[in-house]
Symmetry: C2
Subunit: 313 residues, 2 copies
């Protein structure tokens, strides 16, 4: 939206053409992103105004503009504009933001009318850690009717236990004929726990952000490749991975790339982590189809634990 | 040698295995690298001592150790240890360093004895911008006899005109049955000019370092992708390049990656530049074989010039 600018991307053929990514693409509306600006934003009934981090200009983001930006980008799945609240928060504050998000949801739905077929708009369930508010939000959203439903406003400060409780109860009430999407989550363990509670979709920066910082996700648990004991280790991260970088480079070499500040280190670990996440969810899909998801999840956890105890304590 | 350490790389199977690079590999002895440390080094007959930039430890690099390090790394072409002098410099200083480099050349040759077949050691012609010293250096090196000969101590502060004069006269006197290697050079124009004077081999950081800084080498001359006028340009850098990144991504996208600080920008431009250099020298080889090198070089220069005038002034 701000850089390089939604209108500019549209003139260049949309995000798929711009990035040369032919696969499906989901974009967030900006609600969560604006929350991270804290004091620099102002929320009103009309929308949210904030200062651009690039040039300090005041930018107004309304539900209508959020939909327009995502149409200009040419995304496959657009998200409604919502107001996220950091946890912990007062119930009154959570309720106010949830109800505002519902009114914005209606405006987004109207603004989305006339979008060509093949594009989807998702509603976002808010309500913090209050289950009654979550259910009120979900009921109202399904009355408006969206192509899919997301759980937003989690992984924003609460414990994993609270997060999974909200996910479990909310997912159980979500329409079973529409995708159920948990936003901004998470670790491999979070994914398995949420899938076990009925979640279908995720987005998260962890595979790439942790990769850039030297943390590799593997079948044997997370490995911090910057740890000194990898410096002489000729073993690959995982000889049985589908990922060439995980299979072919030694831990010693990956360790060296990080120690020497070579950008290739972050690139390789990002690729390794994306392969890992893709394989984890591919295995999950197969296990669900075969009716053995619980065994699959238990086995994955056992492998992580074994590694963590022996190698990365 | 210092990070991750030559002995460590050897224990990990050598540089080819460590980096997973199956192609030929050349390593420098450290003479040029130590020159860049300026006041932190001390040159004696025995070798050069310097402080490690990593931990401040004093490191001694002798001709024997330079050869040992390169054998431990498992390089295909090792370079003798030499002393480089920044230009301009006094003739006496240039002569002293050149003669010291010759004595080190003899010691490197002895130290290299017993290296398994398939590995080569090159001597390095020194002598600054003094042609008599250059020829004295070359005569002494050919008397010692190396697998190939390099021109060192250029591109260290002198003008391109002086560099090409030294290259032209020195290359003309170099053995025609051994590779002639110009160290640390250069731009595409430098390469064509040096090839025209008899040079066979080069090494240079320009394709990748300039790529990381946003400068793309193309058939149409250098393009600074960070310039604002690329922001809305849907054209690729070169629709006829063999390089997918040069052919498929828009200038607007590459521009955006640099503006947004995305590491992918430097990666893509490095790949684009390496393709460009490879194609430039492949074209040169074909033109030489066809007996039309002068036309090839003139045509390349004409294309660069046309672009520079119209687009990057």
């Amino acid at each position: 939206m701000l850089r390089p600018g939604a209108e500019r991307v549209a003139a260049l053929g949309g995000l798929h053409t711009f990035m040369r990514w032919p696969g499906p693409m989901i974009t967030d509306s900006g609600g969560f992103q604006v929350m991270s600006l804290a004091a620099l934003r102002k929320v009103t009934e009309q929308g949210v105004t904030f200062r651009s981090h690039l040039d300090g200009a005041t930018v107004e983001l309304t539900p209508e503009r959020a939909v327009e930006v995502q149409r200009l980008l040419g995304t496959d799945i657009a998200m409604q504009l919502d107001e996220c609240v950091r946890l912990p928060a007062d119930r009154a504050e959570i309720e106010r933001a949830m109800k505002l998000s519902l009114r914005w949801a209606e405006r987004c739905k109207r603004a989305f009318e006339g979008t060509p077929p093949g594009h989807a708009l998702f509603g976002i369930v808010q309500g913090g850690d209050d289950q009654r508010l979550r259910e009120e939000s979900l009921r109202a959203l399904t009355a408006i009717s969206f192509d899919g439903y997301a759980i937003g406003g989690l992984a924003v400060g609460e414990s994993q236990e609270v997060m999974l409780e909200v996910v479990g109860k909310t997912a159980a009430a979500m329409p079973s004929d529409r995708p159920r999407y948990l936003m901004g989550v998470g670790t491999p363990a979070d994914l398995l726990a949420a899938i076990g509670r009925g979640i279908d979709m995720f987005d998260c920066v962890l595979p790439t952000r942790n990769g850039r910082h030297g943390l590799a996700f593997t079948r044997f648990g997370p490995i911090n490749i910057k740890n000194a004991h990898h410096a002489d280790d000729p073993r690959p991260l995982d000889p049985e991975s589908r990922c060439p970088a995980a299979r072919d480079f030694s831990r010693a070499y990956l360790h060296h790339l990080f120690k020497a500040g070579e950008a290739l280190g972050g690139t390789l670990l990002s690729v390794i982590n994306l392969f890992y996440y893709q394989d984890l969810v591919a295995g999950t899909r197969a296990a669900i189809a075969a009716g053995c998801f619980a065994d699959y999840a238990a086995q994955a956890k056992e492998q992580w634990q074994a590694k963590r105890d022996s190698d990365e304590s």
